[in-house]
């Protein structure tokens, strides 16, 4: 156990922990400002904003002897007996010097810069900078340089922290960005023919402490202080990166990574970052329809749940296709509802979209080839009810046999997921309910076409490919005519009150052993369900593993 003294506050550091001065101070509740340091990247120690005073405390006498010179906290390991001073006049002067230095040649762009409101240069200036400009006044606006399809560069705003350069070398492994030139003439650049074009490129905008690197997707769209952010999970693949969904008045403007040391650390891929456009796509289904013959009339939600229940009850053998985009709670509630109506109801997993291979990057960040968030969770729910998992292909075969009379199909895929020939296999059903985001060959055949929710509109939990369960709450309200899946199923089951995802999860945890580890509660970074799989859990454990 190491004891470290920071500004008269003592903190403990475990023997297996490696903290630098910045991290140790954070533990003591003290901010050490910094630009170039980032926990996910190598240490440059070049911005010099994190300079602090350092000394040692004699273990016997308790006497403190300080070094005469400042040291960079990012590069100084917090070892036993070390003393940091972050609030002395010497440190304050050094910070003011660095701030003044960075503003000398900085363009006066705040009014037109996206970063305003979340800019380290601004924030540190207010906290640590001088109140008057002493250097010659230089009114100019930044040059702009294209560096790649997603990212734009405002060259003159750069403070040469080199985080972006280190990111493309150490994390994405693509080395597109570099510093061209030397000294004050240094500029971030790309080579012609080698644009910033990798799947993780959006992360450099998060890393940039100022407004030099900009997201073309977000450029000039919103002022950040109007955005409210909600903790969420990306539904783009089975990695299940933790994210922030940032919205204003129910419109999503941007997606950012949320730090999760167990899943994605500090990063997300571009598919996740820029893949939310379907939430506000004007082609979304927004009203329920009922099809009689060739006409499909809009129906009211009032009374529709009762109507669906009674029609399904009349139909004979039921089935439900549970999309891997459903939350655990939604999958469970839908399965429970259908099995209540028909204890022999077939439950099948919806198609699992797979694209390419799994990809690995630095910091053990990876993108899964499986492009859905909750296959494992939905499989476990299905197996609990039926004792097995039927794939979509197997289900299609079963459809052809003809014993199934009615089916509830949940979609929720970002784009086309079913073609005409496959959809036709459903045409023999007496009743077909399709609950989805967009029209498809299948929804054209549906007796009842129900508009479904986008991921940002749901509350619930997903299980990623590493058996980690993460829970989210709704970020935005859905378009007017949409009833979120969980809310509809809650009603269909005649549960009391409004949809309560945590209560639904409690029931899942109680009933399905696989989810037992989530019983004490689900932290912000999720919970590893594998912890309790030694216990008898039924379900998939009893199956032969493929």
């Amino acid at each position: 156990m190491a004891i470290v003294l920071i500004d008269q506050r003592e903190i403990e550091i475990g023997d297996d922990e490696h903290l630098n001065g910045i991290e140790a101070a954070e533990r003591a509740g003290i901010e050490i400002p910094h630009y170039c340091w980032h926990p996910g990247l190598s240490v440059a120690g070049s911005c010099r904003m994190c300079l602090v005073e350092m000394g040692t405390r004699d273990p016997g006498t308790g006497e403190i002897s300080m070094l005469p010179k400042l040291v960079p906290a990012c590069k100084t390991r917090a070892t036993d007996g070390i003393v940091f001073v972050t609030n002395s006049e010497k440190v304050q002067r050094a910070r003011a010097m660095v701030e003044e230095d960075l503003l000398l040649r900085h363009p006066i762009d705040c009014p037109i810069c996206d970063k305003a409101g979340e800019c380290s240069l601004q924030d540190y200036h207010f906290k640590y900078g001088r109140d008057r400009r002493r250097a010659d006044i230089r009114p100019f606006t930044s040059r702009r340089r294209e560096v790649g399809p997603e990212i734009t560069l405002f060259v003159d705003r750069c403070v040469q922290c080199t985080r972006c350069v280190r990111f493309t070398r150490e994390i994405s492994g693509t080395s597109e960005l570099f510093l061209s030139g030397r000294g004050a003439d240094g500029e971030i650049a790309v080579m012609p023919g080698f644009p910033l074009n990798n799947k993780l490129s959006g992360n450099v905008v998060d890393l940039c402490p100022v407004g030099a690197l900009g997201d073309k997707d977000f450029l000039y769209q919103q002022r950040v202080w109007f955005l409210e952010r909600h903790a969420a999970v990306c539904t783009g693949c089975a990695t299940g990166c933790s994210i922030w969904i940032e919205e204003n008045e129910d419109r999503v403007w941007r997606v950012k990574p949320r730090e999760n040391p167990h899943v994605n650390h500090w990063w997300i891929c571009n598919d996740g970052r820029y893949g939310y456009s379907h939430v506000h796509d004007s082609r979304r289904l927004t009203v329920p329809r009922r099809r009689d013959g060739d006409s499909a009339a809009v129906v009211d939600w009032t009374g529709l749940p009762e109507l669906l229940k009674s029609r399904l009850r009349e139909s004979g053998r039921l089935a439900a296709v549970l999309s891997p985009f459903l939350t655990v709670e939604e999958a469970y509630l839908l399965a429970k509802f259908v099995r209540q109506l028909d204890p022999q109801a077939q439950l099948a997993l919806g198609p699992v979209p797979t694209v390419g291979e799994d990809e690995e990057f630095g910091n053990q960040f990876s993108i899964s080839a499986e492009k859905c968030p909750n296959r494992l969770g939905v499989e476990q729910v299905i197996a609990h009810f039926t004792g097995q998992v039927i794939t979509f292909e197997q289900f299609l075969d079963e459809l052809e046999e003809g014993s199934i009379k009615a089916a509830w199909v949940s979609g929720g895929y970002k784009s086309d997921w079913i073609d005409e020939p496959t959809a036709r296999k459903f045409s023999g059903l007496e009743m077909l309910v399709v609950q989805d985001l967009f029209a498809s060959p299948l929804s054209q055949l549906a007796t009842f076409e129900l508009p479904g929710a986008a991921p940002a509109e749901r509350a619930g939990s997903y299980v990623n490919r590493a058996d980690r369960l993460q829970s989210i709450r709704r970020a935005v309200r859905p378009p007017g005519g949409v009833r979120v899946e969980g809310s509809l199923y809650w009603d269909l089951l005649a549960m009391q009150g409004l949809y309560n995802a945590p209560a639904a999860l409690d029931e899942v945890i109680e009933r399905i052993g696989y989810f037992a580890a989530a019983a004490p509660g689900v932290p912000e970074s999720g919970i590893d369900l594998k912890v309790n799989l030694l216990a008898d859990s039924g379900g998939l454990d009893k199956l032969d593993q493929a």
């Binding site: 080395s175 597109e176 570099f178 061209s180 030397r182 080579m191 012609p192 023919g193 080698f194």
Partner: protein
């Protein structure tokens, strides 16, 4: 990138390969390789950087990064057959080096950083050439011109064929 002819000839590539056994990494060959290319081509265009990246198995932007740090390697067009570096540091400056530079530039009709239209010669600033005992001095190719005077500069310009 269009499929143009390779600009790093086999001779250049072989000359670069000779440095391989001297270092434990290919990256360490970058600076010697840049010199080899610069000496043969008179500059190091971006295409050469790409081809060098293939030879050394390094991403070309990483090589470009190193190259751009040193002001020594030009990339836009070849420098003159003779590169003239005129020192502007303290000893040469104190003994009239900047006036000598100005005189030479006027005689040749070009500014520092430029090349004569016939491509014979280019002039550049140098920071301390380490010839302070012969200030003011200039390095023309491999020849150090010492104790410059207007007469010596006249003679130098006349000697250029």
């Amino acid at each position: 990138m269009s499929t143009t002819e390779r600009i790093l000839t086999d001779e250049i590539l072989d000359a670069v390969r000779e440095f391989f056994p001297r270092y434990p990494t290919r990256r360490a060959v970058v600076l010697p390789a840049l010199h080899v290319i610069n000496e043969r081509l008179g500059y190091v265009p971006e295409q050469a950087v790409v081809e060098l990246g293939e030879l050394l198995e390094l991403p070309p932007p990483e090589i470009q990064d190193t190259l751009s740090f040193y002001g020594f390697f030009k990339q836009d067009e070849p420098r003159g057959k003779l590169r003239v570096w005129v020192c502007r540091s303290i000893s040469c400056s104190a003994r009239g080096g900047e006036e000598m530079l100005e005189y030479l530039c006027r005689k040749l009709g070009i500014k520092p950083g430029q090349t004569t239209p016939d491509g014979r010669l280019s002039i550049e600033y140098a920071e301390c050439l380490g010839a302070c005992d012969y200030a003011p001095a200039m390095l023309a190719g491999d020849t150090l011109h010492k104790n410059l005077t207007r007469e010596k500069i006249d003679a130098f310009v006349d000697s250029l064929e």
